[in-house]
Structure formats: C-alpha cells, structure tokens
Amino acid sequence: MSSLIQQVINGLSLGSVYALIAVGYSLVYSVLLFSNFAHGGFLVIGGYICYYSLLKGGANIWVASLAALLGAGISAMAVERMAYKPIRERTPITLYMLIASMGMSIVIENIFVVTIGGRFRALPPVIPMQTVNVFGVASTSASDLLSLVTAVVFLVGLQLFLSKTKWGLAIRAASYSLRTAGLMGVNVNLLISLVFFVAGLLAAIGGIFLSARYSLYPQLGVITTKAFVAAVIGGLGSLPGAVVGSLILGLAEMLAAGFLSSQFRDLIVFGLLIITLIVRPTGLFGKSVGEKV
C-alpha cells in the first residue's frame, strides 16, 4: 500500500514537470496552430545555463535558475524571430513551420553535441534529495515534492497572468483568432514573442528539474515527446487539458515502472496516445471545432 502511495506521489511529481513543458507547448499551439518541436531545445538550453552558472559562475541556485529561465525564454524568442517569423509572414501553411521547428530542435541538440560534447552531466547537489516522510504513510524524495510545488506555483501564476492581465486577454483572444486579434489593435509580433518567452521560461523550469532528476545531456529534449503526447491526450491547444494529460501520463508511467517493468514505460505512453485517439480523438478537453468555409 505504501509503495502504491509512493508511486502515486512520484507520478504526480513527474507529471507536474511534464505539465510545465506541455503547457508551454500548448500555448504556442493554441496561438500559431503548429507543433513547436524545438520546445525540447529550450529545455536543454535552460538546463545547460543553470549547470554552467552553478559550476563555473559560482552562482547560487536562485540566480542560476533565474539566468536559466531568462536565457531559455530569450532563446525561444530568438528562434521564433529567426526561423518561424519569415515563414509565417510569407505563407499560411503551418507544415512549413512544423518542419522548420523539427530542424531547429535537431540544430540546438547538435550544437550542444559538437561544442560541449554528448557527455552526461550531473547537476551539483543544489536541490535537496533527502527522503521525506509523507504523513507517516509513505516516503519520497524532497526534490519530488519541490518540483510538484514549483510546478503548481508556476501554473497558477500562468493562469493568473492569462486571466487577469491585459496581455493575457490578448493571448486568449489570439488563441481564438490571431487575425482578428491583430485587427483589434494587438501587436501580433510582440504577442507571439511574449508567448514564446513564456513557453521557453516554463520549459527551462522543467529542464532544471529533469536534469536534477536524471542527468543533463543534449538529448534530454527528447523527453518533450511525452509532453506532446500529454498535450494530445488532454486535447491539443487546451491548457487545462495539457495539465490533466500530463498528470495522467506521469502517473501511468510511474505505476508501470513500479509494478510492471521500467522498459514498458515508453510503450505505455504510446499505448495511451493510441487509445485516446481511438476513443476520444479530440482529447479530454479538446473542442471539436466545426470548420467554417
């Protein structure tokens, strides 16, 4: 019983990290209607900035995290300006942006491979790892609880930003129709940059926790595949859906690893995706939009 509770806590913590990544991805999808596969790259950039400012810069964890968040956000904006803006200004075909984003993800990954090498690096022990007893029924590591709390804080912050501020309103408007939002006087280019900044920032938090949980290497961004799957399970483009889908995925993965075999984790993820698409193609929270002609 206690091992079940422990796996559930682990699953929720892993799911909350997925949620941070999936929400950023969903945010971009809801505005620009394409899958930004370079999202994993932002995560890796954040992880490496954190690693190097801790190790070489001698910064403490707060400064290092802040640098990682800003760095990943700014590089996300830069990627949008360099690779996606020229395409979206020329053509409405989202396939082109999708292909460019896949290219960008490969480029970012391999820039790290050729410059600093594909070696696995462990983050310095800045995130507490000791075992914590949860209400006397189970024990789990402090970093799991910390990542859960951090994710909740940032997701609530994002929710407040989207619902209370003027820019949040603009982003919600743009997710219905970018064109109309532009006609209403929203600076569309600035809005898209902002969306990418937020997405990169959230990805960097995920990157820091993932590199503390596993280790840091250029292919760490591949893990975003699971966040994409979570977003599809929750409904593409829906933020609550992304969170719920991520939690389901994290739980399923951890329970499979704990009670079946850790090799089945990835198969379970893929199976969940296929089952969702068969039973409920638009995902849990997806709205099936009637096409206007």
């Binding site: 899958s35 490969i106 050729v114 595949t225 593409l236 198969l267 893929f270 995706l273 296929i274």
Partner: protein, 386 residues
C-alpha cells in the same frame, strides 16, 4: 566500377525507395512524419525472419516485408489520421521508439538489441536498382492517377476536397499505407545489403535523414526527391571525416530550406522537358551577368588555390596528379589522415570545396562591384549625352 562505387549505388537505390515513400506522404499528402524508419525496421525484420527461420526465398520475403510494414502503417493511420492536425506527427515521434523497444525486448524472435546476423547477401546492385525502377514507375502512375490528384487535393484544401465528395481521412490512411510499403521494401533490401540488422540502424536519425531528403528535394516532386537522395547521400559520403556534423547539417537543411526556399530544390515541378528548358534559359541569362561570370571563374581559380593550401606532402605531387586524384578522394576510398603520397586524403575534398566557394564568392562580389561601376559609368555617359 569498384566495389565502393557499386556499394554507393546500391545504398542510393535503397535510400531512394524509402525517400519516395516519405515523399508521397509528406510531399503529396502534406503530413510530416518522423517515424518512417520504424516501417523500414518492420520490413527488415519481417523479411529476415522469413528468410532465416522459414526458408522463404528472398524475392517473396522482400514483398512480404513491404506488406507487413504496409499493414502496420494502416493500423497506425486509422486512429491518428482521422483528424486534421499534428496528431500523426506526434504519434510518429513515439512510433519509431515503440517499434525499437518491441524489437529490443522480444528477444526470442528478433534477437534483441545485439542485432540479427547472418542474413544472406541477396541485395546486389541490379536487384536494388531494379526494385527502385519498378517502384518509381509505380509511384509515377500513382501520383498521376485519380488517387494522386486526390492526395494533392487533401493536402491543399481538405475542406474543398471533402465537399467534392472525397473521403479525406481514408485517402490520408491510404497514402500512409503505400508509403509504409515503400519503406518496408527499402528496409528489406537494406537487410540483404548489410547482412546484419540492428534496431539502432532504424533510429530517429534515419527518419530525420529521410525527411531532410524529401524537404531538400522539394515537397510534392518525385524527381526532386530522387535528386535530393543523390545529393544528400553523396555529400554525406564526401564529408564522412566530419560525420559528427551530419545531424547538424540535416537540421540546418530543414530550417534553411523552409526559411529561404520552402518549395525545395524542384518545388512541385517534375524533371522534364519544360523544367529543363526553364532551367536552361535561366542559366543562359546568368551567363550574360558579369557577376555570375566572375563567380564561375572563381570556382575554376579555387581548384589550384586549394592545391597551394594543402599540407606539404600533397604539394609534392604534381597538379595533374592532384586533379586526377579528385574522383578517388570524392569517393572517400582513402581513409582520413592516411599518408598523402600519391593519394589524397578525403579532407582534401573539403579543401577543394571550401576554396572554390570562397574564391567564387569573392569573385562574385568583385564582379558585382564592376557591374555597379559600369552601371554608374553608363548612367553618367547617358547624362552627358542629354
């Protein structure tokens, strides 16, 4: 032809078959994929197991490999292609991994991650090229048939296509199944060519390579896809000494082509008399351009310039000898860092290309300046005349 050349030709034909499959799905039906190496794996393992365990002759085994991949693609396509959106693309990211995991863990049948040795070497160059020719003709008829036009209609405007009575999701699934067949056949041929298969051979890098080829050649052009295979395979062979940059180059190809020329090498045009005539007339116009003339001269200057900048042991051989070495170093027959006497290491190929490119761009700029000066002169003369 040496053994090496024959090997390259065979590999080209095998890659070409897989690229045609991806081109049908991504180029003509408009759905991005990153899991097509998985279908190659299914084809390769199916035909290998049929040949070794059941003693089936290789020809039916290759077809069976293709059909197995086709069936699997159909099953995957049914749920994921029902909706318009990036569903298949996201599923395809997991698909390749899932297939690899199954192969690695199903050791009693697939022999796991260590690979399957001892496959008879049935893919000779004529077999591979023959398969490629037959499948290319088949593809040509398919894309010019009713079905091909329906694929393009689903890609360009699925709403209009469905209003015209096309079942768009069924067409997408059909397109995926056919492209799965091509990849399965290609994988079966690869198994017979390498005599040894391993799950790692069909990883994400292979899927990326296939997609880069198609994007580079042009979305919606079969001949562009053939040319893309030719160019990218030869370029990666030539630059084998710097193979750690290979993935970086593929990634840059995807981004740069999308940003600068989303239609790729050929656009939606096919290689034929019309496009040839157009290219010729454009080339003719270019030869009248001063800057372009200078650039061409720069390329020619680049060859002796690169000769001067070679390591000293290369300079010891004559220029004529050096020039005669280019084909052999292009083929990569000489190992990187091998003694340079009488033969030239493949990094010399890189030197030639870089030197030519630098000389050409300088000459091009010079030509451009001269042209500009001439233009100013002309306009001045015209001003005086008035």
């Amino acid at each position: 032809m040496g053994d090496y050349t024959i090997g390259i030709v065979t590999l080209l034909a095998i890659n070409c078959i897989a690229a045609m499959g991806v081109s049908l799905f991504t180029g003509f039906t408009g759905i991005f994929t990153l899991g097509h190496a998985g279908y190659m794996a299914i084809g390769a393992y199916t035909s290998t197991i049929l040949i070794i365990k059941l003693g089936v002759p290789w020809m039916p085994a290759i077809i069976a490999g293709g059909l197995a991949a086709m069936f699997f693609a159909y099953l995957i396509g049914l749920p994921t292609l029902k909706l318009v959106g990036d569903y298949y693309t996201i599923a395809s990211l997991g698909l390749g991994e899932a297939i690899r995991l199954v192969i690695e863990n199903w050791e009693s049948v697939t022999r796991g991650a260590r690979g399957y040795p001892g496959i008879p070497h049935y893919t000779t160059a004529p077999v591979a090229v023959g398969f490629m020719a037959v499948l290319a003709v088949g593809m040509f008829f398919l894309i010019n048939s009713n079905y091909g036009r329906a694929f393009k209609a689903c890609r360009d405007d699925y709403v209009a296509a469905s209003l015209l009575g096309f079942n768009t999701s069924r067409h997408r699934v059909f397109s995926l199944a056919i492209s799965g067949f091509y990849c399965g056949v290609s994988g079966s041929l690869l198994a017979g060519f390498m005599s040894f298969i391993q799950p790692v051979m069909f990883d994400m890098a292979k899927s990326t390579e296939l997609v880069s080829i198609v994007v580079f050649g042009g979305l919606g052009s079969m001949s562009g896809c053939l040319m893309g295979t030719l160019i990218l395979t030869l370029v990666t062979e030539m630059f084998r000494p710097i193979s750690q940059y290979r993935m970086l180059i593929y990634g840059l190809v995807l981004v740069l082509v999308m940003v600068l020329r989303p239609e790729g090498l050929m656009g939606a045009n096919e290689l034929g008399w019309d496009s040839l005539k157009r290219a010729l007339s454009r080339a003719k116009a270019l030869t009248r351009d001063t800057a372009a003339r200078f650039g061409l001269a720069g390329v020619l200057i680049g060859i002796p310039v690169s000769y001067c900048f070679q390591p000293s042991s290369v300079r010891a051989i004559s220029l004529a000898e050096y020039l005669s070495c280019i084909p052999s170093l292009m083929s990569g027959a000489v190992k990187f860092g091998a003694p340079l006497h009488k033969s030239v290491a493949p990094n010399a190929a890189l030197a030639v290309v870089i030197a030519c490119a630098i000389c050409a761009s300088f000459a091009w700029a010079l030509g451009g300046i001269i042209k500009l000066v001439k233009k100013i002169d002309d306009s001045r003369a015209a001003g005086r005349g008035m």
